[in-house]
């Protein structure tokens, strides 16, 4: 666009001429076509019809990773630019992790990576290779809810429910980190998780109850 003020205009792919990534793509396309030509003509035509070269290029551009998600090991091929959030939501149908801003400003996408709370929108999926991911879907023990989930229901720590998975993942980590010793401390260490419905006091009460209940979180 003629007046694009977005920071992405500074990325090499948006500069004039062929960028690095385009060059790589062209190379991959060409080499796959060469491979196709080595096959029988029918196969080559068929391959072209199916956008074979596109598919080959797509495969080469992906990164193979292994993630342990909610206790299940998964081997995945992801584009390097795919965020952990989009991987969870768009490819694995784990939609409990929410997208609220994509800039790490709202906390709705909070998950645990190796036990630490992490903003999955600011985490490339490829960066999580080999790590253990826990999402809201993996917090309960089968049908038995995690004490924090129970406490959120009891104290009505939500209204619309959209920020809730992030609040709960953050709340569990907040206690684990030892940052839930007073109302003020909870408020401070939970301030990265926004709730537009404004259920904050109820969330604080839920966290206090879990903390004071001596539950293992």
């Amino acid at each position: 666009m003629s007046k694009d003020h977005s920071p992405d205009q500074f990325l090499p792919e948006n500069e004039g001429g062929q960028s690095h990534s385009d060059a790589r793509r062209t190379f991959l396309k060409q080499s796959s076509i060469l491979t196709a030509l080595a096959l029988t003509p029918t196969a080559a035509i068929k391959a072209a019809e199916l956008k074979f070269e596109e598919k080959v290029a797509a495969v080469f551009e992906k990164v193979n990773i292994t993630l342990d998600i909610n206790g299940k090991k998964q081997k995945l091929a992801v584009e390097p630019r795919t965020t952990l959030l989009d991987l969870l939501r768009e490819q694995l149908n784990l939609t409990g992790t929410k997208k609220g801003c994509d800039y790490g400003q709202c906390g709705a996408c909070t998950v645990h990576v190796d036990g630490q709370r992490v903003l999955s929108c600011l985490t490339l999926a490829a960066m999580a290779d080999g790590k253990d991911i826990t999402t809201i879907e993996g917090l309960a023990n089968g049908d038995k809810l995690h004490p924090m989930q129970e406490a959120f229901i009891k104290h009505d720590g939500f209204q619309c429910g959209y920020c809730t998975p992030g609040q709960i993942m953050s709340a569990v980590a907040c206690i684990r980190e030892g940052h839930a010793d007073s109302d003020e401390e909870i408020r401070e260490y939970m301030s990265g998780n926004l709730c537009r419905c404004g259920a904050y006091p109820n969330i604080v009460n839920a966290i206090k109850e879990v903390k004071n209940g001596g539950h293992k979180v």
């Binding site: 666009m1 003629s2 007046k3 694009d4 003020h5 977005s6 793509r25 596109e54 290029a57 797509a58 584009e79 630019r81 795919t82 989009d86 939501r89 768009e90 784990l94 939609t95 409990g96 929410k98 997208k99 609220g100 801003c101 994509d102 800039y103 400003q105 999402t135 809201i136 879907e137 917090l139 809810l145 989930q149 959120f152 229901i153 009891k154 009505d156 939500f158 209204q159 619309c160 429910g161 959209y162 920020c163 809730t164 998975p165 709960i168 408020r187 401070e188 939970m190 301030s191 998780n193 926004l194 709730c195 537009r196 419905c197 404004g198 259920a199 904050y200 006091p201 109820n202 969330i203």
Partner: protein, 760 residues
């Protein structure tokens, strides 16, 4: 359709011998929400899904000269790049009426209709690809050239061009016309008076869930959308009109809505863009706005300028109020709201003048945001009340009590119910109002100045036509359906409570289903009217179900109830019994089993009795008290305590209703202290376009908040005695805080938000 008579003893029997209404029941959908199983609009899985990303205009006004989509079209995975030149035509565009009530003059923005640009970041193209990443990348490759025109986005600069809304110009009886009670502008001739101007910036709803839609043409004339909307029926009608297909061919699903606060009360360009794209690529298209686009495409609380003049007698009787307001709108739709309503009816003043104007700018159209208009107006009125009390050297609570009115002075009618005075006294007690000093700056805590303030709010107690279907199964389960939504207040939960009491069965036997246009029609979830409207329909459906059970029983020779009248039966604990002889009883499930019926069902429509309602003025009332501390050196404001009180009829669920009140108070803290959307007028573009720049309150901004309910039923509004609370929860909160800041510091800041720079 049936009308329930307004006979309190009847309601006593129906309701208050049961015990679910009023209980702080946990939310019925709580488990789904805490486990991540609740499905919001972008979270449905459909085969062959594709992803749409919008490209926005980079100018504010003008026309698109050319649009280059070649690079985007060549990008991997791209299925289509659509814009005004190649978009499938939307057959309903030309005649398009406004999709939901009310009807502003003009018409909603027609996406991809022509080359005109009306506001910055207006969607000019949509890129559809097989993955989100590919669509997002390709959207960056679309280039447009513009012929730019001079734009107007600065409200203060163009304020002089404001005018009376066209609807009022056309109809002298329209409520937006100037209002005069007694003598116009009578305050001007008085001795004891104040006159002040107030400014609130545009505020963004910013629900946590980004506006999202999945559009799916199941056949060329059959559309299904999973949509973030507060009105599944409203959206269904809008899309049917837009595409000129039968209403029944459009299905709108909004099972869960991740907050909305009003921005789901209108259909927006991105929705039509996704539907256009789905038509073109013949696949489902998922479109989720970015947070930046939430500032430019889905409405906001409009920038407003106000002026209040007020006069009073030395002993504190208001003699005159004049309240003027100008609200911002877009160049293509006249958006209006009831900014001045509270001033007309809240206090006893014999002379009241109100004047409302709108100012079209080159911006997108606003839409009601929580406490629409009234929250804006209450900021000015309740600030002025505080200023007047200060001039009179009077306690602001005493001043309000002195001007309290037991009859609506605007329409000269009795209130249906009003317990605002009680609410004021309860709240004052709870905040410790007696600690407040008349002289500002008198209280301190170290470096912090301490102050107390209050603000009153009101909103019409509305009720609309709604319907519900209730099905009782032979195993005793009851499923109730209505095409309402639950944007967070706990609609599903309170409907279950209402149904449990109306039917005399346990809430855990009842499932309430909402958020689908396939269910019986219900109005949009707006204007704090859902419990009164949909609750009445649910209650009527449950009563009809009981009557059906009764007719099955009393017509049956073996039942022991033969020829007994409905009125002589008691329905409790899942059993029908003879009121005169409780030992004669039969369970609901046995009724169905005896008749070999797998289920019975009823559908009921419930309407308010307008004739009865015309005799009264019906409002919910609220009063909010705030304690603040202001740092003397830095100007930092800490709200240290809020007490928020509602006179809103019978409270069905104190847990969810209390949460709503808390949420309103938090919203009011944002309005008072942190929120303001700022346009750089050189470019017409928002500089506050994410949560780093536009500050909604966070945990650390939120103090202890005490909620007080008067909890007295209003049976004139409906048979359950309820009134709305969603709006009054925020109306009057911002002035409570700014008045407390004045009490702490002696500084009166009438331009929101009150950021520290304004206090040092």
């Amino acid at each position: 359709m049936r009308q329930q008579p307004c006979n309190p003893s009847h309601f006593m029997k129906e309701y208050f011998f049961q015990d679910n209404m009023g209980k702080p029941m946990d939310r019925v959908d709580g488990r789904l929400k805490v486990t991540g199983s609740a499905k919001y609009s972008a979270e449905f899985e459909l085969p062959n899904m594709s992803h749409g990303v919008l490209v926005g205009s980079t100018i504010t006004k003008g026309r698109i000269k050319s649009i280059d989509t070649k690079a985007a079209e060549r990008a991997p995975g791209v299925l289509a790049v659509l814009h005004y030149q190649n978009s499938p035509k939307v057959p309903g565009y030309v005649q398009a009426a406004h999709p939901t009530e009310p009807k502003p003059i003009g018409q909603p923005h027609r996406v991809f209709y022509d080359e005109q640009v009306y506001f910055n970041d207006q969607p000019i193209a949509i890129v559809v690809a097989d993955t989100l990443e590919r669509a997002r990348y390709a959207a960056r490759l679309v280039k447009a050239q513009y012929e730019e025109e001079k734009h107007a986005t600065s409200f203060p600069k163009h304020q002089g061009k404001a005018f009376l809304p066209t609807a009022a110009q056309r109809n002298p009886k329209h409520g937006l016309n100037d209002y005069v009670r007694g003598k116009a502008d009578a305050y001007k001739g008085e001795n004891l008076k104040i006159e002040s101007e107030y400014v609130i910036p545009s505020e963004m709803h910013n629900p946590m869930e980004l506006q999202s839609i999945i559009a799916h043409w199941e056949a060329p004339d059959r559309l299904t959308v999973y949509d973030k909307t507060q009105a599944v029926i409203g959206s269904q009608n809008a899309f049917a009109r837009e595409w000129k297909i039968p209403v029944e061919n459009v299905k709108v699903i909004a099972t869960f809505v991740g907050g909305a606060f009003g921005n789901g009360l209108h259909t927006w360009p991105h929705e039509t863009a996704a539907i256009i794209a789905a038509k073109k690529v013949n696949r489902p298209v998922k479109l989720m706005l970015t947070r930046e686009q939430m500032f430019t495409m889905v409405g906001y609380r409009p920038f407003a300028w106000q002026k209040v003049g007020m006069s009073a007698t030395p002993d504190g009787k208001i003699t005159a109020i004049t309240h003027e307001a100008i609200g911002q709108t877009s160049s293509y739709e006249e958006f209006t709201e009831s900014t001045l309503q509270q001033t007309r009816m809240m206090y006893t003043s014999p002379n009241v003048t109100t004047r409302y104007r709108i100012l079209p700018l080159d911006v997108s159209t606003p839409i009601w945001m929580r406490g629409p208009g009234e929250a804006t107006g209450a900021f000015a009125l309740e600030s002025a009340m505080d200023e007047m009390a200060h001039v009179l050297k009077m306690d602001p609570l005493e001043f309000r009590l002195k001007n309290h009115t037991d009859r609506d002075p605007e329409r000269d009618r009795p209130w249906s119910t009003k317990f605002l005075k009680e609410a004021m006294l309860m709240g004052a007690e709870k905040i410790g109002w007696n600690k407040r000093q008349l002289q500002p700056g008198s209280l301190r805590n170290g470096d912090w100045l301490v102050g107390y303030g209050m603000g009153v709010g009101t909103f019409g107690a509305h009720r609309n036509r709604a319907s519900a279907k209730a099905t009782m199964f032979a195993d005793g389960r009851v499923v109730i359906q209505s095409a309402t939504t639950d944007i967070g207040p706990g609609t599903g939960t309170v409907m279950v409570q209402i149904a449990a009491d109306a039917l005399g069965i346990s809430p855990d036997k009842i499932i309430f289903e909402l958020g689908s246009s396939l269910f019986p029609p219900a109005p949009s979830q707006g204007g704090s009217a859902t419990v009164a409207s949909v609750g009445s329909a649910v209650r009527d459906a449950c009563i009809a179900l009981k009557k059906k059970l009764a007719s099955l029983t009393t017509g049956n020779a073996d039942s022991g109830f033969r020829n007994v009248k409905y009125e002589d039966l008691t329905f409790q604990n899942g059993q029908i019994s003879l009121t005169s002889s409780p030992g004669t009883k039969l369970s609901y499930t046995d009724v169905l089993k005896q008749q070999k019926l797998p289920e019975i069902e009823v559908t009921e429509e419930s309407r308010p009795s307008n004739e009865e309602r015309q005799k009264y003025s019906m409002y919910s009332f609220s009063v909010h008290f705030a304690e603040v501390q202001v740092h003397q050196l830095t100007g930092q404001v800490k709200v240290t305590k809020v007490v928020t009180c509602a006179d809103a009829g019978k409270i069905v669920n104190k847990k969810t209703a209390g949460n709503q009140m808390i949420g309103g108070a938090v919203g009011g803290i944002g309005m008072a202290l942190t929120e303001g959307a700022v346009i750089d007028d050189r470019f017409g573009r928002y500089v506050t376009k994410d949560f780093a720049e536009y500050h909604i309150p966070v945990h650390a901004d939120t103090p202890d908040i005490d909620v007080v309910f008067v909890d007295k039923p209003d049976f004139i509004n409906n048979a359950m005695g309820t009134k709305g609370i969603g709006e009054i929860a925020i109306i009057g909160v911002a002035p409570a805080i700014t008045n407390a800041i004045f009490n702490a510091t002696g500084k009166r800041i009438n331009e929101l938000p009150v950021t520290p720079d304004k206090l040092i």
